[in-house]
Symmetry: C2
Subunit: 437 residues, 2 copies
């Protein structure tokens, strides 16, 4: 099956593990069948593959997430990078054009679109597969997944089906109602709109050409910024008369806040954590090297990363966003396409970071106008190119890179370096990429 996974924006509600450049779907708090920690993106990919090992997965995402996805999935999934953020209709459209024009998916093939966030059972992806098949077999233009409600929630849009059958035509859509209205819907076999759609690729491309003036993927990419910000629901679903819905009754959770995340975390603690006997209903995630000791904590979440430390009552954690926005700190840890870095020290005129690269990782050839850098290799070996000169590096080697000097590093083995950045101003924007000489 062809699947477009929408890997959405950055979130601060799982701070300090999520930040402006690390979205919640990359935090490794789940475990796979062999007991290895995995992120939501990895979990979803694994679940899809266990349902259909031939699935072609394309992740529609922003530039800032592409590196993290490559680090976590390797080359297994295609990535369709949006030049800028433009809501779900443009994103799905761009990904559909990408499938057609870059990956050669035919107009008669089906495509399913899924958000990457919900925590679900494998059965969910069995339904997704079924939806892809139904999209080709039935005469409905769109096939939606309806989540069987567990309560009259006011947080979701509702789908009213014509019947309570497993597959049914859709009678109408309802915006997020108040709880009283939601109760009425529940009496009509109503379902939550889970944001999962399947369609024949040709249907969507026709629809797209009728709404947007473009020739192919590259053309669409080039004019992406001019597209209207509009959701797929508004632009397509609510105007389409021929829609069917498939029911899903399994576990389906939004793990976008700590309170909800703690319910599905693989373990009560991760990292160097000690809880005393009097801790109750408390989860602790520690990404730092130093130990955390919790004593007498009740109904709490404690999370620590290079970006900061959260100590919160679970219920209260949902109200975290404004406080995190006030903190307004540069991310101290980031996964990049060439590896990851962690800021270890920052003071006026200098910043010290630890750079970690996997064997084969390679930086772009670049230079800085303002800052110089001193690299000390503490693990592994690699090859640096500095102003066109190739240099083999191994543990204990030190190189100094003056401001203006072009440089890159390719890791031969897994590699760690301590990089001391020095200059009047240390900022991420002080970077120019260069073609290799």
């Amino acid at each position: 099956m062809n699947i477009i996974l929408l890997s959405g924006g950055s979130g601060k509600r799982l701070w300090p593990l999520s930040n402006d450049i690390r979205s919640k779907q990359f935090i490794k708090l789940f475990k796979d069948e062999s007991g290895q920690y995995e992120s939501m993106v990895q979990r979803v990919y694994r679940q899809i593959m266990s349902v259909d090992a031939d699935s072609k997965v394309t992740i529609a995402t922003s530039k800032s997430q592409a590196s993290a996805i490559k680090n976590q999935l390797g080359e297994k999934a295609s990535i369709c990078v949006e030049p800028c953020r433009r809501d779900t209709f443009p994103a799905i459209l761009l990904a559909a054009a990408y499938l057609h024009d870059e990956l050669g998916v035919g107009e008669d093939e089906s495509v399913a679109v899924c958000p990457v966030d919900p925590y679900v059972e494998k059965e969910y992806y069995e339904i997704v597969k079924q939806m892809g098949e139904l999209a080709l077999q039935s005469d409905a233009n769109l096939t939606l997944m309806g989540i069987e409600p567990t309560c009259p929630s006011d947080k979701y849009g509702y789908i009213i089906p014509e019947s309570g059958d497993e597959v049914s035509r859709v009678k109408e859509f309802k915006e997020k109602p108040d709880v009283e209205t939601a109760k009425k819907y529940l009496g009509q076999n109503a379902l939550w709109n889970g944001g999962v759609f399947a369609f024949r690729l040709g249907y969507l491309l026709d629809k797209a050409h009728s709404l947007v003036d473009f020739t192919d993927y590259r053309d669409l990419f080039s004019k992406y910024e001019s597209l209207e910000k509009i959701s797929f629901d508004y632009a397509v679903v609510e105007k389409e008369p021929s829609i069917q819905v498939v029911r899903y009754g399994g576990d389906w959770r939004d793990v976008g806040t700590w309170n909800m995340m703690t319910e599905v975390m693989a373990e009560a603690t991760k990292g160097n954590v000690t809880l005393d006997d009097t801790c109750v209903n408390t989860q602790v995630v520690n990404e730092l090297d130093i130990p955390i000791i919790c004593m007498g904590c009740k109904d709490m979440i404690v999370a620590a990363s290079g970006d900061g430390i959260l100590v919160s009552d679970k219920e209260r954690s949902g109200a975290m966003k404004p406080y995190v926005e006030r903190v307004n700190l540069d991310p101290m840890y980031a996964e990049k396409s060439w590896g990851s870095y962690a800021v270890m020290d920052a003071q006026k005129g200098s910043m010290t970071v630890k750079v970690s690269m996997h064997a084969g990782d390679s930086m772009s050839y670049h230079s800085h106008d303002i800052r110089s850098e001193v690299w000390t290799v503490i693990e592994g070996e690699g090859v640096a190119i500095v102003d066109g000169m190739e240099q083999h590096l191994s543990v204990g080697d030190v190189i100094t890179i003056a401001a203006g000097c072009k440089h890159m590093l390719k890791a031969i083995t897994n590699m760690s370096i301590i990089e001391v950045q020095l200059g009047k101003e240390i900022c991420a924007s002080d970077k120019h990429k260069h073609a290799m000489d």
Copy 2:
């Protein structure tokens, strides 16, 4: 007045701010009159000086604390370093011999001995001064401070005075009683034994020579390890028939646990800390560079340092010790006579530390057998001597120090360097001091 301050052992009960090498009396959680943070040692010294600006203060302590005391008090106080730990009688004896033989204090002068830990008002040191005067004027051999009890506590020894007068002869001493017995004592004008003694220096030296075979300070120092571990109370006080006690009724608190420390901390938070509106009776100390956000915390203490993070219910925090002992981590931050260091990263084969020195600070000339070091100067300037060669260092300079190579650094201005240590084994014991060539 002559004062011996007993600066006691390392404590884990204020972890992670106190550790094996940083005792609780060096944590800066109080404020002086100008609003600057100060430690207990600094507070006590300031209080003593405000009562008598001519006080001669000698701090009896272990080798491991000498550096921290020098960093916090400079050259203002004398330091009498015990070669090893031997309880309070040997420690007071060594300090008394030091005063007599090294500082020239006469046998007819009085000396007061005070523990450095209790949190007290200035009036306490006015009583100490008065005790020194009484030690010379009255015919009692020992003058003690009695703390007016605020409750029938079972945590202290009791002094039963002959009268309720401000100064009274002592009738008897009582070991820590149970609460019921303590209630009876309170009806007899009983006082807590606060561990403060004053005496004529000659009295103590005579007593010492009758108990220990030594000639002078240096002789005593050389045989210190062979001395019996015994407290001053057992060895001297309880055998002395001629004792008087002076009452102190002001604030007197043991701030040896977080629960008690939070009652006297200058501010509810220190460092980069955000508390939301729903936090109640919660104190947070953050020595890390990253922010801490607390939400919905009730009756809690949160403390973070390079050694670790504590999140604890206040009452429960008193039971912390066994958990901290299990963590058993090398201290990540230390004040040394030549400055301070903070471990930023440790992995197999390397450790990266930030070294901070004040202008004028100077390392000993030393070498390492196993590890090499790479220094990058990120702030200030200084002079390094490497295998006898003098080298001026300023921001951006990098020097590599091979294993076996002798080296030292003297800071001209305040100075920071990033030091990457590399070697099969990285340990504190891999260090040899050398005379300068």
